[in-house]
C-alpha cells in the first residue's frame, strides 16, 4: 500500500504540469467549440444577408451557453433495438480520440502537453484517425438504415482521404526532417520561410483532404441532411449527440493546428526574421484594443441594461488581454533591466496569439468553403480522392524529394530553396492537369459506353 501511494506521488511530481494542461483543455474546449459554432452561425447569416442568433445576450453572444444547457437537459433516447453497450461507447470513443490528439499539439512554444514528443506529428495524426470508430460503431449500433449508410459512407471517405493527407504530410516532413512539433516550427524559423510556400501542392492536398476528414461541407456526405437525415448521428440525442458535435469541431481544430504547424509556420510571427518589420509585434495588442473599443462604441445601442453591462464586460476582457499582450513589449522600454526576464513570456504569449490566429484563419476558410460550394455526390467524392488527390500527392512527394536533393547539391537554404521547389511545384501542377485530362477522357468514354448500352438495350 505504501509503495502504491509513493508511486502515485512520484507520478504526480513528474507529470503535474501536463496533467494540469490536460484538465484545462478538457474544461475549456467545449466552451471554445461552442463559440466556434456561434461564429459559424454568424458567418453563415452574414453571407446569406441575415442576422443570425440575436436573442440570447447582445448579438447572441450567450447563445452557446443556452445551447449547451438545452443539450444537457434534453431527454436521452436510446432506440429499443440498439446495441446498448456500443451505442454508449461510440460517442465516447469519438471524443476521446479527438481530445487525446490535442495532447500532442503545441499551442505556442510554452503550452504543450506532450512536451518534446519524439513522434509528435505522427501521434496527432494517428490518434485523431481513431475517431472514425466512434462514427462507424455509432452508425451500426443505432440499428437504423440511415445511420448505417452514413457510417459506411464515412468509413469509406475517411479511409480514402487519409492516404492523400498522409502523403501531403510526408512532403512537409521531408522539408522539416523531424517529427517533433517544436523542431518542425523551429526548422521553419531558421529557414525563414514557411513550408506552405516551399510545398504549395502538398498544402493544397492537405487542405482538401482535411476538409474531407472532418466531414465538412462540401464533403459532408456522412451527414447529408437532404439524403440521410443526419447520417450516423440520426438516432443520437441530447448529451450523446453533443459529444459527437464536440468531437467534430475538436477534429477541425486538430487538423487546422496540424496544417498551421507544418505549413503555416506554427507560432512564428509573419516575417519573424526580418528586423525592420518588428513593428508587427504591436499588431496583436492593437487588434484586441480595437475590438474592445468597438464593443464600448456599441454599448449605448443595446436595448436593455443587462446587455449594456455585458458589452462593457466584454470590452474590459479585451483590454485585459491587450494588456497581457502588450506587457512583454512595453516592460523592457520602461525598465531595460527586465528585458531578459521578460523574453520567455513574450515568446509564450505572442507565440500563442499567432498560433491561435492562424488556426482561426484556417477554420474561417473551412466555413467560407461550406457556405460557398455545393455538396459533392458520393461517386464524385470518391473519384476526386482516388483518381486525383492520391496520385497527385504521391507524385508531389517524389517532386519535393527531388527538389530537396537539387537544393542540397547547390547548397540552397531558406528563401533560395524556392528556386528548387517552385519548378517542382509547377511540375506538380502540370501533373495535376494531366491527371484531370486523363480522368475527363475516361469519364467521356464510360459515358459513351453507357449511352450505347442504353440505346442498344
Amino acid at each position: 500500500m505504501q509503495a502504491v501511494i509513493q508511486a502515485t506521488i512520484d507520478f504526480l511530481k513528474l507529470y503535474w504540469a501536463p496533467l494540469l494542461c490536460g484538465v484545462v483543455i478538457v474544461a475549456v474546449l467545449p466552451l471554445i467549440v461552442g463559440y466556434v459554432v456561434l461564429v459559424e452561425r454568424k458567418l453563415m447569416a452574414d453571407m446569406q444577408a441575415r442576422l443570425g442568433p440575436m436573442r440570447v445576450g447582445p448579438h447572441g453572444l450567450l447563445q452557446p451557453i443556452a445551447d449547451a444547457v438545452k443539450l444537457l437537459i434534453k431527454e436521452d433516447i436510446i432506440p429499443e433495438d440498439a446495441d446498448k453497450l456500443v451505442f454508449w461507447l461510440a460517442p465516447v470513443f469519438s471524443v476521446g480520440a479527438a481530445l487525446l490528439a490535442i495532447g500532442g499539439l503545441a499551442f505556442g512554444p510554452a503550452f504543450q502537453i506532450g512536451v518534446n514528443l519524439n513522434i509528435g506529428l505522427l501521434f496527432v495524426v494517428g490518434i485523431s484517425a481513431l475517431g472514425i470508430f466512434g462514427i462507424v460503431l455509432g452508425g451500426w449500433a443505432s440499428n437504423s438504415h440511415y445511420s448505417l449508410m452514413g457510417a459506411l459512407r464515412s468509413a469509406a471517405q475517411l479511409v480514402s482521404y487519409e492516404t492523400a493527407a498522409g502523403m501531403a504530410l510526408v512532403s512537409g516532413l521531408l522539408l522539416a526532417g523531424t517529427l517533433n512539433i517544436k523542431s518542425i516550427v523551429e526548422a521553419q524559423g531558421s529557414a525563414g520561410v514557411w513550408f506552405g510556400f516551399l510545398a504549395p501542392v502538398a498544402f493544397f492536398t492537405y487542405l482538401v483532404a482535411s476538409i474531407a476528414e472532418t466531414n465538412r461541407a462540401p464533403f459532408d456526405l456522412p451527414e447529408a441532411e437532404s439524403e440521410l437525415v443526419a447520417g450516423y448521428m440520426t438516432e443520437f440525442s441530447g448529451f450523446r449527440w453533443s459529444l459527437y458535435f464536440l468531437a467534430e469541431y475538436t477534429n477541425m481544430i486538430v487538423v487546422a493546428s496540424v496544417a498551421t504547424t507544418l505549413f503555416l509556420g506554427g507560432w512564428l510571427r509573419p516575417f519573424a526574421n526580418v528586423h525592420w518589420l518588428n513593428f508587427l509585434d504591436y499588431l496583436p495588442p492593437l487588434l484586441v484594443i480595437a475590438i474592445g473599443g468597438y464593443c464600448l462604441l456599441r454599448t449605448p445601442k443595446q436595448p436593455t441594461r443587462v446587455q449594456q453591462l455585458f458589452m462593457v464586460v466584454v470590452a474590459g476582457l479585451c483590454f485585459v488581454v491587450a494588456l497581457v499582450l502588450a506587457g512583454p513589449l512595453l516592460l523592457p522600454v520602461v525598465k531595460p533591466a527586465m528585458a531578459e526576464a521578460v523574453k520567455p513570456f513574450y515568446a509564450g504569449i505572442h507565440g500563442g496569439f499567432w498560433f491561435i490566429f492562424k488556426v482561426s484563419a484556417y477554420i474561417y476558410f473551412f466555413m467560407w468553403l461550406r457556405f460557398t460550394i455545393p455538396r459533392y455526390r458520393f461517386d464524385q467524392l470518391m473519384r476526386l480522392g482516388w483518381h486525383f488527390l492520391i496520385p497527385l500527392s504521391i507524385i508531389n512527394v517524389l517532386l519535393v524529394g527531388l527538389s530537396l536533393i537539387v537544393g542540397c547539391y547547390y547548397h540552397l537554404q531558406g528563401w533560395a530553396l524556392l528556386l528548387a521547389t517552385t519548378p517542382a511545384a509547377i511540375l506538380g501542377l502540370v501533373a495535376a492537369l494531366i491527371i484531370l485530362g486523363i480522368e475527363q477522357k475516361n469519364r467521356a468514354r464510360q459515358e459513351a459506353a453507357a449511352a450505347v448500352g442504353f440505346y442498344a438495350g
Partner: protein, 172 residues
C-alpha cells in the same frame, strides 16, 4: 514500481479483452475487443519507451486494419447461425495451434530461467533518457542495414495491391 503498475494495467486489459474477443457471439463486439487488445499492446510498447512502435501499432492495426475489418463486417452482415457452424469446425486446429504456442512460450521461459539463475525471465524497461530517438533509429537500421529485405517486402505488398485491383476489375 510505476512501470510495473502501468505494465500490469495494460497487460490485464490486453489479455482480458483477447479472451472476450474469442468468446463473443456478435462479430462487431469481437472487433471492439480486438481493438481494445491492440490498443493495450500499444500501451505496453509505450511503457517500454518504444514510442515509434506504439504509434505504428495504432496507425496500422487499429486505424487501418480494424477499420477495414469493421467495414467488411457491416457490409457482409454475417448471418449468426451460418458463421457459428463454419467457425465450430476449426476447434481442433485452434486447440493444436494454441498448445504448440504455449509449449513454445513455456520452453522460452524454461531456457531463460535456467541460464539466468532465476524463476522468471526478467524484462527491464530501458531508462527513458538514455534511449536514442526511436523513429530515427528505426529508419536508419531499415534503410542502411536492412535495405534489401525492406525493398523485397515493399515489392511484395505492391504485387498484392495490384493483384487485388486486377481481381476486383475482373468481377465488375
Amino acid at each position: 514500481m510505476l512501470d510495473s503498475v502501468i505494465f500490469y494495467f495494460f497487460a490485464t486489459i490486453a489479455v482480458g479483452s483477447a479472451a472476450l474477443m474469442v468468446t463473443r457471439r456478435n462479430a462487431v463486439h469481437s472487433a471492439i475487443f480486438l481493438i481494445a487488445t491492440l490498443l493495450a499492446t500499444a500501451g505496453i510498447f509505450l511503457q517500454l519507451r518504444a514510442e515509434f512502435l506504439f504509434i505504428v501499432q495504432i496507425i496500422l492495426y487499429v486505424g487501418g486494419i480494424m477499420v477495414l475489418f469493421i467495414f467488411v463486417i457491416m457490409l457482409v452482415n454475417l448471418d449468426v447461425a451460418l458463421h457459428q457452424i463454419k467457425f465450430a469446425r476449426q476447434k481442433w486446429v485452434a486447440l493444436i495451434v494454441a498448445l504448440a504456442l504455449s509449449a513454445q512460450v513455456g520452453l522460452l521461459f524454461w531456457t531463460t530461467s535456467k541460464g539466468a539463475g532465476q524463476i522468471w525471465p526478467g524484462l527491464n524497461a530501458a531508462p527513458a533518457n538514455r534511449l536514442p530517438p526511436n523513429a530515427e533509429t528505426v529508419a536508419k537500421s531499415l534503410f542502411n542495414e536492412y535495405l534489401l529485405p525492406f525493398e523485397i517486402a515493399s515489392v511484395l505488398l505492391l504485387v498484392a495491391m495490384i493483384g487485388a485491383v486486377v481481381m476486383a476489375k475482373k468481377r465488375a
